[in-house]
Symmetry: C2
Subunit: 347 residues, 2 copies
DNA sequence: ATTGAGCGGGACGAAAATTGTCCAGCTTGA
DNA sequence: TCAAGCTGGACAATTTTCGTCCCGCTCAAT
């Protein structure tokens, strides 16, 4: 750390906590505006009185405005938030946690965003924004991009800038299957990416859970073969990481599938593969989709998943994640991952 | 100001004052150690309780140590002080005051050190140290240095480093006269400089206040003539600025001299010249010494004077100070000068 | 050897700030 | 039209801060 900052910390030990507290409040207000004291105190885990004291201060500094519907951030507040972004990343240990996660997960880049998307839904938007920015950086060099489905992926598609259009981009749905709500299907997401960027899209609608024979037969179809060849040429893969448990509960999976997941000890899901705690593939949805080996060959891989509830799934998947994978996650997931792994070490 | 610092200030408005307060306390402890709460509270202008609260904090941070003789700064405390030096200069407005003084005094460089040497004698040492550093920077290029007397000049001589010796340096007493205590005479000071640096010294012992005839006669003496020629070749002049009033009181001046000073409205003194509020020469000690015109020709001039009591004298002298003069002073003098000049503007 | 000024730390009642907790009156979205 | 959620005001209870005094100690000057 900066020797100047270090010296200030020595002279003003209260500073650190106070700054963190106020920054977090301001941040939460930004994400949840308009928001009231009571809701805010729950989200921030502080007493209402404390929140009130601090918001009074923030208001007197004109960083927030109090309307009848609740408190909202002011333009100046946004500036302050932006100016302190990097500093707070150091201060609150996010940078440090990124380093730890790199080691734990065996990859070379990790990006952690503040707060927990399990508590504050808007954190997902922030994750989406950062993932979108990282992805956009790949566009000039890498044109063939495979994307999966899920709410996290949907968040990214919303944040992709439609400023710089590039007709040479090609987005490929990483799974032919339907599986989820239309809005969160890989096909839909790929189309959204294409629309935003002005690029092309390659989709494929094919039922999940085919019988073995039907699957074999379909694989021989030209249109499917073409898709599989496209996967071979994929430059970038962008995918979410699913929580096997959640998926088994929420989605209308076949009872057979659920049983396979349960008995196999599946913890995480990505591109239609299910992994157990050690990263072994315990099940795979039978549909056209990118193969693990094809993912391995990709130049860049963005894995996006946030919220402490995803910690176990992330740990599971990263047992076999390619080294070139970049993880974009949030503080909640990161803390939980570190907690889980260091606890194991203690015993 | 740094946008990061600006943002922190917005989020933590208390920070500024608190930092200033603690820094000042730590600074004062450093200069006056060992020092007790009561003495400290007087120097810092705070209540004893306040001082106690803050010193308790500083001690818990191990920046100071409490011995039976009083509190003293710790090595870590020194580090903190050093690390924050430049930052605090900005924060407490010293940098800003330097800019103001440049305009007010019509010179291109001003250096202001914290606190007031009228309150804390050790500030004089700091001034001496900085002046010494500035002077040392001139040594490689400028070899002939004229120095005056006075306690401020003595402080500089104490702080001149004896590390890098330079036999080509030549120190010249700017005044032949005695005038003051032996220890503070120009001759003595010049000798001290020479001793520290390994350079040569040119001194001249000649009574002050000669009669007009005696003075004329002396001026024709070869040894004096030689001295006057040396003044012509002077590269650097280092001088203090005296308070005419104080000089008239303290020194055993001739009643005639005191009367001249009083009736002429003398405010400041430098190199044996007395100046009034407008910078007119109202009196001059009759002794061999550097001439105003010779000072004007010098490449570099360091004027050194601190303490709010010197403010009027500084203002008076800088009416006629050459543009190449650099002023080294302290916060006390600087504030007073600004106060005096802005008050005049208001009416 | 003695003394006294100056020191840190303990103590404590008075005063001030903080805290938890209400409520009134408002807007807004259903 | 109503209910939910919001701000800002209020206030007693509690905690913290503040001013002040004292004690025992050290150390330098006498």
């Amino acid at each position: 750390m900066d020797p100047l900052t270090e010296a200030k910390k020595k002279l003003m030990p209260e500073m650190t906590d106070l700054l963190k507290k106020r920054y977090q409040i301001l941040q939460t207000i930004q994400m949840e505006e308009p928001i009231g004291r009571r809701t805010l105190s729950e989200l921030a885990g502080m007493t209402e009185r404390d929140i009130r004291k601090e918001t009074d201060l923030l208001r007197s500094q004109q960083l927030i405005e109090a309307k009848t519907a609740g408190m909202a951030i002011s333009p100046q507040g946004l500036e302050v938030l932006e100016a302190l972004k990097e500093f707070m990343r150091e201060m609150s240990g996010l940078s440090n946690m990124e380093k730890q996660l790199k080691v734990i997960l065996g990859i070379s880049q990790v990006l952690i965003l503040p707060q927990d998307s399990d508590d504050i839904p808007a954190v997902k938007t922030k994750i989406g924004k950062e993932a979108a920015r990282l992805l956009e950086m790949k566009f000039p060099l890498h044109k063939k991009i495979a994307v999966t489905g899920g709410s996290t992926m949907a968040a990214i598609s919303k944040e992709i800038s439609s400023e710089k259009r590039d007709r040479s981009l090609q987005f490929i749905a990483a799974r032919g299957g339907l599986g989820e709500d239309v809005l969160h299907q890989a096909n839909t997401i790929a189309s959204l990416f294409a629309e935003k960027t002005g690029g092309a899209v390659k989709t494929l609608y094919l039922p999940d859970h085919l019988s073995a024979e039907a699957y074999e037969m379909m694989m021989r179809e030209p249109v499917i073969k073409e898709m599989m060849e496209l996967y071979d040429e994929t430059d970038v893969v962008v995918h979410g990481i699913g929580n096997a448990e959640e998926i088994a509960l929420h989605r209308k999976s076949s009872p057979e599938e659920v049983e396979m997941i349960r008995s196999g000890g599946a913890v995480s899901e990505a591109f239609g593969y299910y992994f157990d705690n050690e990263g072994n593939v315990v099940y795979r949805i039978r549909t056209a989709g990118i193969q693990m080996e094809q993912v391995q060959k990709a130049r860049a891989i963005l894995a996006v998943a946030g919220g402490r509830s995803k910690a176990k799934a992330i740990l599971s998947y990263f047992n076999i994640a390619p080294r070139q994978t970049v993880l974009i996650t949030d503080e909640g997931a990161a803390r939980k991952i570190i907690e889980l792994t260091t606890k194991q070490e203690e015993f």
